[in-house]
């Protein structure tokens, strides 16, 4: 037997096409778990003296994603499916419906800064660590409610969790360097770009990548997982590691990618912004070939929409000016004491040009 249970509505840019990203499935699964746990609590509250819910209580409840409501919104239809024999037991069904309504009341109270419903037990607020975790800034999950929909947003979800405990979890993308690896505990230290370090779980399937990146200053990693934050949004640790990817020469890549934010007129109303595809080309070429023994240059834009790389090591200033989209490179090393200069022009589309660029720079830098 199948009964319509809930039509939640997702809002935000990711849902504009009226489709559901697959990571939202984890929210719906977490919602089902919360409905069951709250229904059990409600049943026990009404049956003092009983320590357990009746046998088969939760088997009578299973949510199925039936499809999308065809009204132009990202609104999945969740149906309550009950096995034939259990459908006849009917009496306990009311607790699942009460649970659904109480969850919506709880979400609404948090979103509107009202006290949480007294019937909602604080120990179940922990479920909001998972339910709604895939929501990003600007997104919301609306739960239907008689007095108007209850909006679960990243902010109201955080408040709900912090009402019961001192930390809450959310999905994170982190970039950093792999420090010490504890093979026994299967964890590693992730040194974040901003300077802090956190401990992260190291699943077996990422061990080899972590080993490659361990202790290497120029080999960063991108981690996707679940971060644990305090009430001030300070990351405390990583609770789960879902994805680990190597990012060679990330410091260099970040300097170039930062220039993609420039707009035409950035320099006294006249500077031309570098073309984003050309920046991607330059990032790819430099990041994939940059030698380990060379210091990274400082990188800025040129007024003509190109890249200006400069290595500063007294008495030398060595610049590589990359003209975009021409892919020409004007190299110049100047001894700022003697005023002696060496120049060289390269075409970066030609094979061997980048090694030549690096050799030019290297030949003018004083060995450390």
């Amino acid at each position: 037997m199948k009964t319509e249970f809930l039509k939640p509505r997702f809002t935000g840019a990711r849902f504009d096409e009226h489709t559901l990203p697959v990571d939202v499935a984890s929210d719906l699964a977490a919602y089902e778990e919360l409905v069951i746990e709250l229904a059990k609590h409600l049943w026990l509250s009404e049956h003092p003296g009983r320590e357990r819910v009746p046998r088969g209580f939760e088997k009578g409840f299973s949510l199925h994603l039936e499809g999308m409501v065809e009204d132009g919104s990202a609104k999945p239809l969740l149906s309550w499916v009950v096995a034939g024999a259990l459908a006849l037991q009917g009496g306990n069904n009311i607790y699942f419906e009460q649970s659904r309504d109480l969850i919506a009341e709880c979400v609404s109270a948090s979103a509107t800064n009202h006290p949480l419903p007294a019937k909602f037990p604080k120990d179940l607020l922990d479920h909001f660590n998972v339910f709604g975790r895939s929501l990003r800034e600007g997104e919301a999950l609306e739960l239907p409610r008689a007095a108007g929909p209850a909006q679960l947003t990243p902010e109201s979800r955080k408040k709900l969790v912090l009402d019961a405990q001192r930390v809450y979890s959310k999905d994170v993308d982190l970039t950093g360097r792999v420090g010490e690896i504890d093979w026994e505990k299967q964890t590693f230290r992730l040194r974040l770009e901003e300077g802090a370090a956190i401990t992260a779980p190291l699943p077996e399937n990422f061990s080899e990548l972590a080993r490659q990146a361990g202790g290497k200053d120029r080999l960063s990693v991108l981690i996707r997982g679940v971060g644990v934050f305090d009430a001030y949004d300070r990351l405390q640790k990583l609770a789960e590691t879902h994805h680990l990817e190597l990012l060679p020469n990330q410091t260099l890549a970040a300097q170039i990618e930062e220039l993609a934010a420039l707009q035409d007129g950035w320099l006294e109303g006249q500077g031309k912004a570098p073309d984003k595809d050309q920046l991607a080309w330059a990032t790819d070429r430099l990041v994939s070939s940059f030698p380990e023994d060379l210091p990274f240059p400082h990188i800025g834009p040129t007024p003509e929409g190109g890249l200006f790389l400069e290595w500063i090591q007294k008495p030398w200033r060595i610049s590589a000016e990359i003209l975009l989209p021409d892919h020409r490179c004007e190299l110049q090393a100047t001894n700022t004491i003697t005023a002696k200069s060496d120049d060289k022009d390269l075409n970066l589309d030609q094979a061997g040009a980048l090694p030549e660029l690096y050799t030019f720079v290297r030949s003018h830098l004083t060995p450390a």
């Binding site: 400082h298 990188i299 007024p303 500063i312 200033r317 610049s319 100047t334 700022t336 120049d343």
Partner: protein, 125 residues
């Protein structure tokens, strides 16, 4: 202007990296026809020049660096006042006698001298 007069140069945030001034900040832009705009330090303080540049002209600056008239002339770069409208403190360093590659080399020398002297005024200081 005296040989010791400071020529004040505003440095765009994109050309200040990890506290170091890129030499491109001391090079004339294509629109400048070989003339690098500076403030005459005898007529305006570093702080007032920054306020004028960002507040009146509406441009971006991450700080004021300086070279002296003597330093620019040692690079064979003449300096002269060039009043623009209600902007009597405006002066230019003339790069026009030099080819593009020479201009770049000279900008490296000027930037190094300015950096050695240090930032004279930063926004919010």
């Amino acid at each position: 202007m005296q040989p010791t007069t400071f020529l004040l140069r505003q440095v765009h945030p994109q050309w200040l990296k990890d506290g170091q001034v890129l030499s491109i900040a001391f090079r004339p832009f294509p629109k400048d026809d070989g003339l690098l705009s500076v403030y005459d330090g005898d007529l305006i303080s570093p702080e007032a020049s920054l306020n004028h540049f960002t507040g009146i002209l509406g441009y971006k600056s991450d700080g004021v660096w300086a070279i002296t008239v003597r330093e620019t002339e040692a690079c064979a770069l003449p300096v002269r006042a060039e009043v623009v409208g209600h902007f009597p403190e405006h002066a230019v360093i003339d790069f026009t006698a030099h080819a593009a590659k020479e201009q770049k080399a000279k900008s490296k020398i000027l930037a190094t001298k300015a950096e050695k002297r240090g930032c004279l005024h930063k926004p919010g200081q």
